[in-house]
Symmetry: C2
Subunit: 351 residues, 2 copies
C-alpha cells in the first residue's frame, strides 16, 4: 500500500507541467520492483540490451536529421503557395474567378444559412460603403492570432492595433550541417509603433541524444530561443506601462511624483523571452519557457501552414486533437473555458 503513496509523492514532485520529460528515478524503482531480483547473468544481458538501445537512439537521431532535410526541401515546395497567400492577403494581387471557385460544402451551406439568420440581427449591413474598397483580407493575421488559444493572455487589446500591420509570418530552417534551428519571421508594414519591418524569434533544437540521459531521446527538442530588439517609437512600447509613484523627501518631507515603467502583458514580450533557470530552480519560470517553446512549435507546425483555417476558425478542432488526443471529460471542460475566454476577445463589440 505505502508503495502507492511513495509513488504518488514521486509523481506529485513532477506536477505543474514543468520538465514533464524528466525521468523520475523513484518512479523507475517502483515500476520494476523485481529488477534487483534478476539473476546476475540476466541483469548482465539487460545491460547489453541497453547498450543496443543506445545504438538505436543514434540511428534515430540520423533519421530526424533526414526528416529535417525533407522539411527544408518541402519549405521550397510550399513557397509559391505562401507567396500567393501573402499577395492575396495584402491585396497585391486580385485572385481570378477561377482561383476563388469554392464548392460549397456542408460548412459553407451552414454559414450561408446562418448569414440570413444573423444578418437580420446585425446593425451593420453585409456590404457597408466603407468596406467595399478594402484591399486584400484586412486584419488577416490579427484574426488568425485571436483564434490561436495557445497565445492566450499573451495577446492583449493594446496589441491589436499593432498587429493590424502584420503582413506575413514565415519560418526559415537552418542550413544542412549547421546546428538545427528554425526562425519565425514576422513581417510588418511600416507603422507608427516601431521602426522594425521584421521581427524574428529563433528556436534552437537539440537533435542528438543527451549524454546525461541518452535513452530518453525522442527526436529533436527545442532547447533555447532568442528574440530580437524592437525599436519602439517614443511612448509606443506596449510591453511596459508607466506608473506614477509619490516619493517623500526624507529631510524636508516634501512629496514629489515620479513616473516609472513597469512590465505589461503583451504579445510583443514574445520577442524578449526569459532565459532558462538552473535546473528547476524556478518552476514558474520553467513553465513560462515551456509555454514559449510550445507556441514556437505551434507557429511552425500549425499556424503558418494553415493560417487561413485559423482565420475562418476551421482549424480549431484539429488543435485540440493536436494538443492532446482523445480528451477526458475533465480536460475537455478545461478547453471549453479557454475557448470562452478567447471568444470574449472575438466578440468584443468594439472590434
Amino acid at each position: 500500500m505505502d508503495r502507492k503513496n511513495e509513488k504518488s509523492e514521486a509523481k506529485g514532485g513532477g506536477k505543474g507541467g514543468n520538465k514533464p520529460f524528466q525521468l523520475d528515478k523513484h518512479e523507475i524503482i517502483e515500476r520494476i520492483p523485481n529488477f534487483h531480483l534478476l539473476p546476475k547473468p540476466v541483469k548482465r544481458r539487460v545491460y547489453a540490451l541497453k547498450r543496443l538501445q543506445l545504438q538505436s537512439a543514434n540511428i534515430e537521431a540520423k533519421f530526424y536529421e533526414e526528416v529535417h532535410e525533407l522539411e527544408r526541401k518541402y519549405a521550397g515546395l510550399y513557397q509559391p503557395v505562401y507567396d500567393k497567400r501573402r499577395e492575396i492577403v495584402s491585396g497585391a494581387v486580385e485572385p481570378t474567378d477561377e482561383e476563388c471557385e469554392w464548392h460549397s460544402d456542408q460548412e459553407e451551406d451552414d454559414l450561408a444559412e446562418n448569414l440570413q439568420k444573423k444578418a437580420a440581427l446585425e446593425e451593420k449591413p453585409a456590404d457597408s460603403a466603407d468596406s467595399v474598397d478594402q484591399k486584400g483580407v484586412p486584419d488577416f493575421w490579427l484574426t488568425v492570432f485571436k483564434h490561436v488559444d495557445l497565445l492566450g493572455e499573451m495577446l492583449q487589446e493594446h496589441d491589436e492595433p499593432i498587429l493590424k500591420h502584420l503582413q506575413n509570418v514565415t519560418v526559415k530552417f537552418s542550413e544542412p550541417g549547421k546546428p538545427m534551428t528554425f526562425t519565425l519571421e514576422f513581417h510588418f508594414e511600416s507603422n507608427s509603433y516601431f521602426s522594425n519591418t521584421l521581427l524574428t524569434k529563433v528556436y534552437h533544437m537539440k537533435s542528438e541524444p543527451d549524454n546525461n540521459d541518452p535513452l530518453s531521446f525522442e527526436g529533436p527538442e527545442i532547447v533555447d530561443c532568442e528574440g530580437c530588439k524592437i525599436d519602439w517609437h517614443k511612448g509606443k512600447d506596449v510591453t511596459v506601462k508607466v506608473v506614477k509613484k509619490k516619493q517623500k523627501h526624507k529631510g524636508r518631507g516634501t512629496i514629489r511624483t515620479v513616473t516609472k515603467e513597469v512590465p505589461q502583458e503583451s504579445f510583443f514580450n514574445f520577442f524578449n523571452p526569459v532565459k532558462a533557470s538552473p535546473e528547476g530552480m524556478d518552476e514558474e519560470l520553467d513553465f513560462t519557457i515551456a509555454t514559449d517553446f510550445e507556441i514556437g512549435h505551434f507557429f511552425r507546425e500549425r499556424v503558418i501552414p494553415r493560417a487561413v483555417l485559423y482565420f475562418t476558425g476551421e482549424a480549431l478542432e484539429d488543435d485540440e486533437s493536436f494538443e492532446e488526443e482523445d480528451l477526458e471529460e475533465g480536460e475537455e471542460e478545461d478547453l471549453d473555458e479557454e475557448g470562452d475566454e478567447e471568444e470574449e476577445g472575438d466578440f468584443d463589440p468594439t472590434a
Copy 2:
C-alpha cells in the same frame, strides 16, 4: 452570453473521445461570427486562400509519403540492432563482457542501493539455484507488455502463460507505391496453446487528404486494420470461456444443462478486431476501434523501438509526455490511478 452556452453544448456533443478529429460545424459558426459580415470581395479572397490551402494539403501528403520512405530505409538500419536484441533475449547468443558494460549512472546506483534495502525483506535470494541457468531474458516481452499501460485490461492473467512464449515483436512497412500499411508481427515459439508461430495485425493508413474534408488533413491516419486467425488447440482458446446454461424443454418440462462459449477479455482479441460502424452509429464501438488504432500506433512508434526501456520501466515517464504534453494536475491524478492499477498487476504475488 447564451452564445457561450451554445458553444458548450456543441463541445458537449463531442465528449467521450470518439472521432476527436471531426469538425463541429456549430463550433465554426461560433468561432467566426463575423465571417458572414465580410464584404463579398473579401470573402471571395478567403475562398482563394482556401483553394491555396488545398494545394498545401496535397504537398503535405507527398511530404508524408517521403517520410514513410525514410522509415522504410531506417527499418533496414535498425534491423541488425533488433536481430541482436532477439538473439540476446532468446539466449541464442551470450553478449560479451564488453557488450554488457554499462556505466552505472544515477539510476543504476539507486537500483543497487535499493537492492540492499529490499533484498533483506525478500524471501527469495537474488540468485536462486533454479534461476542461474536461465537462458536469455525470461519473460522479456511479457514484462514489456505489463508495463504498457495502454494495453490496460486487454492483458489478462490467463494471457500471461501464453505470452511467456512470445519471442519477438517486429514491424513491417508497405512497399513503395503500394497503399500505405504497417504490419505488426508477433513471433511465438511453438507452444501448447496454438499452432501458429506468427500472429499478425495489419494497419491500413490513409495517406492523402479526404475528399469530403481535405482541409482537415494532418498526415497519414490509421483507417482500418486486419487481424489473423489463431489456430487454438482444443480448449486452449482464452478469448472465450465456457458457461453452463440450464434449458427447460417446452413440452415435457425436463431440464437439461448445455454449455456454450461466450467471449472473454484477452490480449489475443487484438487479433480479432471489431469492424467500424457506419459513421458514429455506435460510439462505444468507435471508441474500441480508436483504442485499437492507438495501440497499433504505439507498438510501432514506442514498444518495438524501445522494448528494453519498457522492460526496465524507464520508458514510462516518456509515454505520459507522448500521450499528452505538460499535464494538468487533474490529468496527472488520472495517470496515477492508471499507473496503480497497472502496478497491482506487476506486484501480483502469484506472478
